[in-house]
């Protein structure tokens, strides 16, 4: 799984397939401000030819091509330039495309509609990230069940979350999808922080399962786990007064308020189930309101 990272980048050039309008303007400004030069090509065919002819640190596709065409470009470019960072922007995508993009080593994936701030931040991350090749590895994937590992660092967590934003499945209401992603991100960061102290040599194992009436995510961290008592305490449905009271005590001890991540996750999904050891958690969000259990 581990691939050597590219060495320090002497030249910084991005190859960009235009998307048109404001997206191009945003990319130009973000890249130029960081001192990157930009080469533009009109389509993926030209992008491949240019990328084969000379090295680029970053490639950004245009929105007008299909996601699957961008993945083909990614595959071909990476066979010639294994460490290139490629960000896919597309108006036309499928769930399978997003999985393939992760599998083929895309840096990130944006399916329309997307937030400009998210794109700017991911471009910045692509420019700054010194080592990312083995950050996410898809172990197995069907459209309904994906299992992968993610390196324990914040940048990898953010990349993974952006891939999830790329899966805009029409069978999942947007609001509920966003809530699952928010909850998942909190649990993922918790796993990386408390289970591995953000040690980038360690990985968390993650599964996503999409059933007809529910979404489930399982996150397993490499740590020793929490006691169930600690978990119950952190997940308790506290009033703001309780939160402030706890924050006051922790403030006096020089600690930040704790347990908010689990609290937020719990609020956004229907079930949050920990294993006995406390280093594995399953989040469940029901998509069929009449069948939801009373919590």
């Amino acid at each position: 799984m581990t691939t050597p990272c590219s060495s320090a980048l002497a030249t910084k050039t991005a190859l960009v397939v235009p998307s048109g309008g404001d997206v191009d303007e945003l990319l130009t400004n973000v890249l130029a401000h960081e001192g990157w030069s930009i080469q533009r090509v009109i389509d993926n065919h030209q992008a491949l030819a240019r990328a084969r002819a000379e090295p680029f640190e970053l490639v950004i596709t245009g929105r007008k091509t299909l996601g699957i065409e961008d993945i083909e470009l990614l595959r071909k470019i990476r066979s010639a330039r294994p460490h290139v960072r490629l960000i896919i922007l597309t108006d036309e995508w499928t769930r399978g495309d997003v999985i393939s993009a992760m599998r083929e080593g895309a840096f990130s994936y944006f399916s329309a509609p997307f937030e400009a701030s998210d794109l700017a931040e991911m471009v910045r991350a692509a420019m700054a990230e010194p080592c990312w090749d083995d950050g996410i590895e898809v172990l197995s994937a069907t459209p309904e069940w994906v299992t992968l590992t993610a390196r324990c660092d914040i940048a990898t967590a953010n990349r993974l979350v952006q891939f999830l934003h790329g899966v805009k499945d029409p069978s999942i209401p947007e609001a509920e999808r966003e809530q699952v992603i928010t909850a998942f991100r909190e649990i993922l960061i918790n796993a990386m922080e408390h289970g591995a102290q953000f040690d980038s040599s360690q990985h968390v194992e993650i599964s996503f399962i999409l059933a007809r009436r529910a979404i489930a995510c399982r996150v397993k961290d490499p740590g020793k786990g929490f006691s169930l008592e600690e978990l119950r305490d952190a997940a308790a449905d506290r009033s703001p007064e309780d939160l402030f009271g706890r924050a006051r005590v922790r403030d006096e001890q020089g600690l930040r308020p704790g347990g908010l991540g689990i609290l937020v996750a719990k609020k956004f999904v229907d079930e949050l189930i920990y294993s006995e050891k406390g280093n594995e958690v399953v989040l469940v969000k029901y998509l069929d309101p009449p069948n939801r259990p009373t919590i």
């Binding site: 399978g96 937030e115 931040e121 914040i154 805009k168 703001p240 403030d251 956004f268």
Partner: protein, 206 residues
């Protein structure tokens, strides 16, 4: 590409876009632009363009809409021209209240650390009445929220206060589910928020 991933792709193709109808972004954006009261920036056009663009959402029909659907801060440009920083904090004063205009995201890592250190600096400098303008904060996770809660608690203990202005979108949702909006104090109108820091006066007839 895995063969099983390819299954059903044709079916998915026609369904790839969200069904929800979207507002006509261009007209909305123009409307919001008219509301802006941003002082002239000393920074160049690229800076202004990116800052403006960061508040946009791109959808498949090229419409643009303002994500928060609210206001841009009336503050000046940030003191550091670091356009792709994930969080920018600029401050301004109104009497004894310090207003912090947050732009970007307050999430775990350097963003929430940066927010924490900025708030600590202000508190250490004796600024004990803080108003956080969240109108352009696009994301806050538990780490960012915990910085806000910790500062609120710390200031209360010192006789000060911290309140929120115009939270929206994902940030509003997180604050709402944690039931922090009422507990901390949140306002839609800046003048009203500033007035809330002043001691209440009661007339003889009230």
């Amino acid at each position: 590409m895995p063969s099983n991933a390819a299954v059903g792709q044709a079916k998915e193709r026609g369904l790839s876009g969200p069904k929800a109808a979207r507002l006509s972004g261009n007209s909305l954006l123009k409307g919001k632009k008219n509301q802006l009261d941003t002082p002239r920036s000393s920074f160049g056009r690229p800076y202004a363009l990116v800052i403006e663009a960061l508040g946009r959402r791109y959808n498949r029909s090229d419409d643009i809409r303002v994500v928060c659907g609210k206001h841009s801060p009336t503050a000046g440009a940030p003191s550091e021209c670091k356009i792709v920083m994930a969080l920018q904090v600029s401050t301004r004063e109104s009497a004894d209240v310090t207003i912090l205009d947050l732009r970007g995201r307050a999430t775990i890592g350097r963003e929430s650390e940066s927010l924490k250190s900025r708030l600590r600096e202000l508190v250490a400098a004796g600024r004990h009445k803080l108003l956080l303008n969240l109108a352009n904060l696009t994301q806050a996770d538990s780490s960012g929220i915990s910085v806000i809660v910790a500062t609120h608690v710390s200031l209360k203990r010192q006789g000060g206060d911290l309140k929120l202005l115009r939270p929206c979108g994902r940030v509003l949702e997180v604050l709402t589910v944690c039931r922090l909006l009422d507990a901390i104090g949140s306002f839609e109108d800046e003048a009203e928020a500033l007035a809330s820091f002043r001691p209440r006066r009661y007339s003889a007839t009230s």
